[in-house]
Structure formats: structure tokens, C-alpha cells
Amino acid sequence: MSSAQLEIQLIASLVAVACAIPGTFLVLRKMAMISDAISHSILPGIVLGFFITQDLNSPLLILFAALTGVVTVVMVEFIQKTGLVKEDTAIGLVFPALFSIGVILIAKNANDVHLDIDAVLLGELAFAPFDRLLIGDLDLGPKSLWVIGSILVVTVILLLLFFKELKLSTFDKGLAATLGFSPIVLHYGLMTISSVTVVGAFDAVGAVLVVALMIAPAATAYLLTNDLKKMLILSCIFGVFSAVGGYWMANYLDASIAGSMTTILGIVFLLVYLFAPNQGVFSVMFKERKQRIEVSLLVFLLHLQNHQEIEERHVSHLEDHINWEKIQAKTVLDLALKNNLITITDSIVSLTEKGEEFTEEALKYITTNKETAIEELKKRFFLFRA
């Protein structure tokens, strides 16, 4: 691995972490699309800043562009306040207009601006190691490493300083305000940090993919944990993993690094989306199936308790009487047998003593409308769950 390769991976990882931190809060505050708006609308700011400074990594340009980001937020909020359109429409109206201005500015000055549309959308991570910070003859490493590094340091310091304020205002705005933390200051602070991060990352990964780095790790982490700290750590890990994995994938495919990073993020999200323990699609499906079977079992037991007649308790009768399909009937019967709630003699089903007891109690719970207690009841009686 050459030092340039190492540097690219380092820059990508730093960008990912710097994006993941504000991204986590944006996702939790239901403001994820604001990052999309900011990442597009800073374009005119970057172009104008570039006219002034002639250097994509100058701090002045970053400040200028970040200001455009904050202005976007203010504009969106102003339009929302007028009540002329619904909230999300305001976002959708502001950023394409600003982005168009940026694109036109670039196109009109294509000859004297070293800034092209592809770079805007994709970033130029592969070239980042060539633009080096030199002091005298001393080579201090790539400029963008310093830029994103300082943004990350500031972000982390602010995060540590205001962690509890941010946490509180994210989950309970009202309480935060009553306790004297200004939600407005925190809101605009977060917006400013997001804008600065987007600008810093813009150079490396481009306009649209910044959004991926902000939202995807946080959203993935949110499916795995309920703890804010864990969520922050997990999203940083996902970010770094996608940065390093994405680099090598791009290396192998000879394709865009930023594109590969997002693809890795996408794969990670897909896996978590499908297989996450509590929130994943399969887990939810499994839970729903379990609940369905157990409810059926309860209905079945109540049916048995109600009917002493033999013909009502015949195995084959279940299918047409309670309208169950064969497979479901078998699953329910098996579960009941396994839990020792019923006995089957000559295809006639009858409740065991334990079954009687369970049904009695279940009935009591249902008639007294305390259905939540049923779960505890199941725990006491069931050896096996569906």
C-alpha cells in the first residue's frame, strides 16, 4: 500500500466520521432531507468563493459556502413560516434553484474556473493526495486531510461540550426549552456544523454522496440500537468501514471511490434492514408470525373450553370450523401439545389440567381487559414459543 493510498483512505475515513456525527442528530431530529438541501445549495457559495479565493481548500471559501448552507436553512424556514406551501415543498423549492444557479455559474465560466460538474457530483478523492500543504519546503500532507481533520476536531469538541444539551433537545424539545437550553441556538449550531462538514466533505465525495455519508450510517445504526452514544459510535464505525471498503472496491473495479463508498453503505444498510435483531424485516416478520400463531392457539384453547361435545373437538373438525388452513392447524396443535396444554386421543382433542388452568387465567385477563398481561402469562405456561 503506497502512502497515497493510505492518505486517501485516511481522508475518506475522516470525512465519513465527520459526516456521521451531525448525521446522527439529523436523522433523529427528522431533518435528514435538510442535508440534501444544504449539500446542493452550497454550490453557488463554493463557486463564488472560488472566484474570490481561487483555492478550493481555502478556509475562506469553506466559510463562505457554509454560510450559503445556513442561508438555505433560513430560507426554507422562512417559506415554511409563510404557510404558503407544505413543509417539505419548501425544501424542494429552494435547493434546486440555488443548485441551478451554481451549475449555470460554472458553465458560464467553464474556461477560467478549474471546477467541473463531475467534480461537483463525485468529488475528486483520487486526486486529494496531490494537493499538498507546504510550509516552506516542509510537506505536511494533503491539504484536504488538514481541512477535514480540523472540521472533525471542532465537531468532536462541540459534541463533547454540548452532548447533553443536544441529546435533550433532540428527544424532548419542550423540556430542553423549559430547562433553559435555547433550542434555536442548538438548532442553528447543528445546521452550521452540518453546513461546514458538507462543504469540507464536498471536495472529497461530491454533493449527493455527502448525503449518503450523513444519513446512511446513522440510519443503519438506528436500526440496531436505542442508545444515542452507541448509535454515534456505530455510525462512525459504519462510515469508516465504508470508506476503507469503498476504496478497495473502487481500486478493484477501477471506478469512482465515492460511488463505491456509497455502494458499500447501501449493502450494509440492506443487510441490517433485512437482518437487524429487532427492527429488521425478517425479525419483524418472524415476530408477527409468532404472534399470529399464539393468538390462534389461544382462540383454539378457548374453543375447546367452550365445547365439551366430542364432535366439536375432533382434529379434522378444526379446519372447517375455525376456518384454519391445514398447515396452521398443525402448527398450532403441535405447539399446544409441546406445551402440554392438550392431549389427543383418537383424534379427539381435550385440554389437560394445565391447559384448563391457562385458559381460565387467559379468559380472566381478556375479560378484565388487561391484555398486556397475556405476555407474562405465556411466559409462565409456555415451554416452547411459536
Binding site: 436523522v27 427528522k30 435528514a32 432531507m33 442535508s35 440534501d36 446542493h40 417559506i79 409563510t82 404558503l84 406551501v85 407544505k86 413543509e87 417539505d88 415543498t89 425544501i91 424542494g92 423549492l93 434546486p96 434553484a97 443548485f99 441551478s100 444557479i101 451549475v103 449555470i104 458553465a107 458560464k108 467553464a110 460538474i117 463531475d118 457530483l121 463525485l122 449527493v208 454522496l209 448525503v211 449518503a212 450523513m214 444519513i215 446512511a216 446513522a218 440510519a219 438506528y222 436500526l223 473502487a250 473495479l253 477501477d254 471506478a255 469512482s256 465515492a258 460511488g259 463505491s260 456509497t262 455502494t263 453503505l265 447501501g266 444498510f269 434492514y273 427492527q279 424485516v281 419483524v284
Partner: protein, 375 residues
Amino acid sequence: MSITEYFNLVFSDYTLRTITLGTAVLGAVCGMLGSFAVLRKQSLLGDAISHAALPGIALAFILTGVKDSNLLLIGALISGLIGTFWIKSIVKKTRLKNDTALGLILSLFFGFGMLLLTFIQKMPNANQAGLDKYLFGQAATLVESDVWVMTAVTSVSLIVLLLFWKELKVLLFDPDYTETLGFNTRFLDILITVFIVLAIVLGLQTVGVVLMSAMLLAPAAAARQWTDSLGVMIFIAAIFGALSGVFGTAISASQDNLSTGPVIVLVAAVFVLFSFIFSPGRGLLFRQIRFHQNRKELNLKKTLTFMYRIVKDHDNISHPHAIKILNNFHGFTKKSLKQLEKQHFIQLKGNEWAMTEKGFHEAAKMYNEIGNTNE
């Protein structure tokens, strides 16, 4: 180039005519279907769909190896639909909220699409690909057959709109009620979503992935300001959309180095800005004017009631009083007194004023109203 020259060119020049027609039709269909997106609070769905269409375009090219715009659009349509339904399932199945789902699908699909695009660029037949144009759109590549496809889609969606008009309308304003009426809301929802995706995909070639959402939103948001009726709104949105297309094309054609997509979006943005400010019913300007008028009227009423309190203890209500005694009350100006005189509520004579019969009745009415509401 003067306007008349440009007009002649639109009718004589094949390319310009095709582009103008194409962008106009596109604007119209986007305005029409965008109205539904805006009213259903799905404004940003368009943004997500258009980005999600990119990998479909790239994959269609990789799989078939030919650059037939209709084939690529089918790829875009499929991947746009996958994106849309994935968003819906994320929102339904997990704890992630709508905005996160939108941002996720938007950026992840787009990133994957960009990966495929850079991958295609390295392929041997890359130079004939030219798929970059789908990023920002290139209206110049429109040909007559594209316009025909657009017109066909517009007509079909118009027919479907008319067929399902009342169902869609009631779905728009009260989905629960629609369900209780026995309509299949799922079907209606999918129907309108598919048409929105279709409109977006059609626009990709002209306006591009990145800016397509504005085409959908802007005309509808502008039209919303002028009316409260759905039918009228759709009609106005279609006109705004078409005009944005025509003007945008004209502006970008008259200058060098101006891509059509961004210009069309900016023209549409101007329509929105204009509507926000100048629409008579909801516009900011008239709202401000009404606000001032209300305040002025309130001041007049306050002055009149103050006078009433002075006058009502006198036997003769029209007994003249000095203006000076109003000084305790700060709500009046010379202008407001003149105004009151104009409405024949009082008569001014030099430094004195006298209440008229009409003014007395008016003030008494107001005074009693205030008293009643206070109780």
C-alpha cells in the same frame, strides 16, 4: 436575436422546435402530476425517485450495450419504482421516518448509479454511452420520437386522471374517508405514484436527475397560490410548467454555454417567487396590505368608540367637541379623523368634531358587540 426572429426560428428550425415542444409538454405533464405530489406532502419523493432512477439507466446500458433512449428510460422506470416502493416499505416496516428513508434511497441509489457510470466509462464502447447527460439533462438531444413518447404519456395520464378524478380527489384530501367509502386506496396510491415516477423518468433526459424534482414541484407550488380548486390548480400548474419549458429553452438557446435544465428550473422558480408575492388570495404582498388595512380600520373603530363614550352622556349627540379632548387617546391622527368624516360618522369643523347620527349608531353597535363578547 430579437423576439420575432426567435419566434420564426422556433417554427423553422427543426431542433429548436423539437426542444421547445418537448420541454413544453414535459412541463405540462410535470405540473399536472406534480400537483398531486405537492398536495399529498410527497414533494421530496420526486427528488428521491429521480436520483433512484440513475442506476436503472446505467444497468440498462450495461445489460443491453445499446444506447436507445427508450430502453434506458425503461431501466430508469424500473429502478425508480423499486426505489419508491422501498421507501414506502422502510417507512412502514422500520422506525426510520419518511425523511430518512427518502435521503437514504436517494443517496444510496445515486451513489450506486455513479459507480456504474464511472465503471461504464472504462468500458470499451464507453464513448458512445454519453450517459452523463442524464445527470443534468441535455435538451438538445431530444428528437421527435421523444416528444411523441412524452405526448403519449401525457395523454394517457390525462385520461387516467379524468377516469379516476373523483376517487383521486377524495384520496388527496381524506384518505381514511376514501377507505371507508370502499375505494381501494392501495390501488389508487400505486396508480398515482406510478404516474409520478413515469413523469420524472420522462424528464430525466431533458432536465436531468439532479434537478428533476424541481420540475415536478415548482409549477404545482406556484399554481397552488392562485386557487383552492384542484381542477384549476392542475390546469394552472400545467400552464406554468409548459411556460417554464418554453421560456427556459428560449433563454438557454439565446446564450452560449447555458444548459437547458438549470435554466428551466430557474424560470420555474421565478414563477414560484412571483406567485408567492403577488397572488391575490394568499400572496405575501396582498397579505401585508390586508394586514395594514385591518390595522387602520381597527384604529378607526377604536377612535369612534372613544368618541362614543364622550358623546353618549350628552343629550345632543351632535354637540361639537374640541379635538383636543381626544388627546388622551393616542390612536387617532388627522388622517384617521378625515377618514371618519368621509364615512359620515363625524363632522369636522375647525378644531371641533361632532358625531353624526350614523356614527352614533355605528359606534353603539360596536360598543355593544364589544360588551357582549367581553361577557
